[in-house]
Amino acid sequence: MQKFSLILGLFCWVNYGIAQPKLTVPLQLPSGFKSTIVANDFGKVRHIAVHSNGDIYMKLDKLVNGKGIIRLRDANKDGVMEDTLAFGNYTGTGIGIHNGYLYATSDQTIYRYPLDANQNIVNPDQPEILVDGLLNKRQHASKSITFDRQGHIYVNIGAPSNVCQEQDRQKGSPGLTPCPILENAGGIWQFSTTKLNQSFSDGVRYATGMRNALGIDWNNEVNELYVTIHGRDMLYQYFPEMYNQKTGAELPSETFYRVKQGDDCGWPYVHWDHFQNKKILNPEYGGDGKKEGAPNAISPLVGFPGHMAPNALLIYKGNQFPERYKHGAFIAFHGSWNRSPEPQEGFYVVFVPMKNGQPTGKWEVFADGFSGMSPVTNLSAAKHRPTGLAEGADGALYVSDDKAGHVWKIIYKP
């Protein structure tokens, strides 16, 4: 008996060691939720997708052994993702599974891979090209994607600019009116998923006035697009006469929008100010911190504290979490850099309760502790930075990190 329990104990210990490697950063979650690390040390893991059989696909923004996509599979169903398949020779951010295809993006191309009946990639080395030639000028170049149920894919084409100045990021350089960047970036473009080898001109500019809508998801409850946008940098540094160290850290808001076709979110002319609840004219366009602007631009559903970098958005569809989470929004905040010299903020996953496509309460921090410290004074010290979100068929929530390349699985098990 003693021998048996010793062996059992040893087995549990070994199993735990594999399943939960390097559990150095414990996450803080609401009561009843539990987290496990299901992948670690894959480098720059950006967005992630989880297939109906539990396979995890990770898009890497830095190649690992020459590969930019990793599939993790628990082939023997013991709870450990021991089976690794690496493919794709390009870096990038976007990834998603839709109607029998795995989609993945580089910073200028949308690729896709047919999946067979056994949920395997048919030909990992020969993806189809859905769209090529999307603007890639390196700044805000990540191409995140989502899908509606009418055969369309939506892709974020971020503006390669801070606030569309004549000279980008040059203190004192005026803003351009109209901003020429908005012609082929600074918005969401819609493409068909039924036609291969499309070019940029085959797409429709679905919505505009977005600096970098890195978080993007389709809300099936109301059949509409939702995005989270990274707000502009440098209000305090460029305009110390209007903003101080503290207000420049808090402003502008990071934003969460419900977007209809043709909507304009106001970039680069205005930024959202969650203290005044107004679209404030950017100083590069004649603003003074109070003047409003862009009357035709829509307002966000939520304005969050500045610079926290909402890198991913997921509208929760599952039934595993308690009822209040259904149709609500999870947002992964990468964590700020442009709050210096104030402490950095973010490095957590937020939840916004929603029903019928509208928020029903205040936003709350759902999963915290990724940075491994508080406060974060130097960004380089933060241990993990949440970047991607995915939902399993069982309703589990997955969170990726592009600092150390971890993926967490969060389940509800009271």
Partner: protein
């Protein structure tokens, strides 16, 4: 005897002179580094961070890179003329553009560069305002 006395006096005065000049050099250097730190806090820290480690994917580090501790003219040019090409440092690519900071005076540029060359674990020579002026007066490469 008299010669010996002279010699000692001479040596003492030389030593004193050396000590004074060394001391004043250190004083002016530390003053320049303090001024450089001020310039850094105002114009550089937001992107390159308080610890000089920058921001992954976006803003390059100033700690532990040849761009800072190597060629003075290349470093001065980055501050005066900005930088828009992708920069790879220690296996990481940085994508945000660096704006021209030509609005800073020669002395401010010299001081802030001397400061970053001697901070964050870096140890490299000071940069003089005359060296900045020389780079400012040449035609920038297009």
């Amino acid at each position: 005897m008299r010669f010996k006395k002279h010699c000692i006096l001479y040596c003492l005065s030389m030593l004193l002179g050396f000590l004074v000049s060394a001391q004043s050099k250190t004083l002016s250097e530390s003053k320049r580094l303090a001024n450089g730190k001020k310039v850094y806090s105002m114009y550089c820290l937001a992107c390159h961070q308080a610890d000089g480690n920058g921001v992954p994917r976006l803003n390059p580090p100033l700690a532990g890179t040849d761009y800072v501790t190597g060629s003075k003219t290349r470093l001065i040019d980055i501050v005066l003329y900005g930088l828009t090409e992708p920069l790879e440092i220690n296996d990481e690519v940085y994508n945000n553009p660096m704006a021209s900071h030509a609005f800073l005076s020669d002395q401010q540029v010299a001081d802030v560069l001397s400061y970053i060359r001697n901070s964050f674990g870096n140890k490299a020579g000071m940069i003089a305002a005359t060296e900045v002026k020389k780079q400012r007066n040449r035609q920038p490469k297009k």
